[in-house]
């Protein structure tokens, strides 16, 4: 079993590396470069999510429907990956879900309140990817974004793409 602080440090280093890589090739960063960084981090998370879900659903029964999958993500998946359950799940029953975590694990060490709020997106991109990757391997193509109004609380919005 690995220790959580090791993961936290690794995650910080990954974020720092991706941003540094982008910056050194360009000098100054504009919004487009930031978007590239976010998408790189998201992509890394996606692959991790895909792998994780394969391991985590090995012994679970198959899912009835989309809502069933989302419930699994909020309870079992979140507990295994982010060490607590999602506090609140909302949906409009048209493929949009909002998962609220009041103490998101990667933000708790950073601040409680609005300090460093502008830094939050880069520390959430990876996790968004993890969730999207997990859903993808369960057969749901989605777009996952995160929104923070005050740390360490965080809302993930999942929009399922209908084919």
């Amino acid at each position: 079993m690995a220790d959580e602080s090791l993961f936290d440090f690794l995650h910080m280093e990954i974020v720092a590396h991706v941003y540094k890589e982008q910056q050194s090739s360009k000098g100054e960063m504009d919004n487009k470069d930031r978007a590239v960084c976010i998408s790189v981090l998201e992509g890394m998370g996606f692959r991790v999510g895909q792998g994780l879900i394969e391991r985590l659903t090995r012994d679970s029964p198959s899912f009835k429907d989309e809502l069933d999958i989302m419930k699994f993500i909020c309870k079992d998946f979140w507990t295994k990956v982010f060490r607590r359950q999602v506090d609140n799940l909302r949906t409009n029953h048209q493929g949009t879900y909002v998962l609220q975590d009041n103490k998101f694990v990667l933000l708790t060490q950073m601040s409680s309140g609005k300090q460093y709020l502008d830094q939050a997106p880069k520390y959430l991109a990876f996790s968004c990817g993890v969730v999207r990757g997990a859903l993808s391997n369960l057969g749901l193509e989605s777009v996952v974004t995160a929104e923070v109004s005050a740390m360490p609380s965080c809302k993930f919005q999942v929009v399922i793409q209908k084919l």
């Binding site: 690995a2 959580e4 993961f7 440090f9 690794l10």
Partner: protein
């Protein structure tokens, strides 16, 4: 003693698959970012170093271990306490040099490489090189300059994974690097 320390470490256990897969994603990304394995190895070491200099604080705070008297004690603490706490494994300490300034950590299993297979075109990649950086960084913060490298790696066909550590010197206090 063991009960107390178990409790503090158990409460912070996490899904190690998340860690393993995330590390894999990082190595994959580095292989995309850099052209050759040498550069990837160097980056991993650097990132490990950055982790190590911070991880040592976490370690000292949670393990309540004081200053080590000699390098043998350091080796023991690394193998039996630190590796156990952070990766859940206990490497064995062997191959001491006669002078007692060099030893090897033998890892039976390496949690970083759980689902990993190295492709043929990455034969010089030291996949777990992050660990070397972590050890080097952490020890530097307790005034020990140490040289750390992988001597053997199961990923590259060796029968065991061996990390070789060599004590270089004790770093003088009151002289932070770059401070005249």
């Amino acid at each position: 003693m063991s009960r107390q320390s178990n409790r503090t470490t158990d409460s912070k256990k996490m899904n190690s698959e998340l860690f393993t897969l995330t590390y894999g994603a990082l190595v994959t990304q580095l292989c995309k970012d850099y052209e050759n394995d040498e550069e990837v190895n160097k980056q991993l070491d650097k990132m490990g170093y950055n982790i190590g200099v911070r991880l040592i604080e976490d370690f000292l705070a949670r393990s309540s271990i004081g200053r080590c008297q000699d390098f043998r004690e350091t080796a023991d603490v690394i193998a039996k306490v630190a590796f156990k706490m952070y990766l859940g494994i206990t490497p064995s300490v062997t191959n001491w040099s006669p002078a007692g300034d060099e030893f090897s950590l033998i890892l039976e299993s390496n949690p970083l490489v759980d689902f990993v297979e190295l492709p043929d075109n990455h034969s010089t990649l030291i996949y777990s090189n992050l660990l070397c950086g972590v050890l080097r960084g952490a020890l530097e913060m307790v005034q020990m300059a140490v040289d750390v490298k992988f001597a053997q790696d199961t990923l590259r066909g060796d029968s065991v994974t061996e990390i070789r550590m060599k004590f270089i010197k004790r770093i003088e206090e009151n002289l932070p690097a770059g401070d005249e």
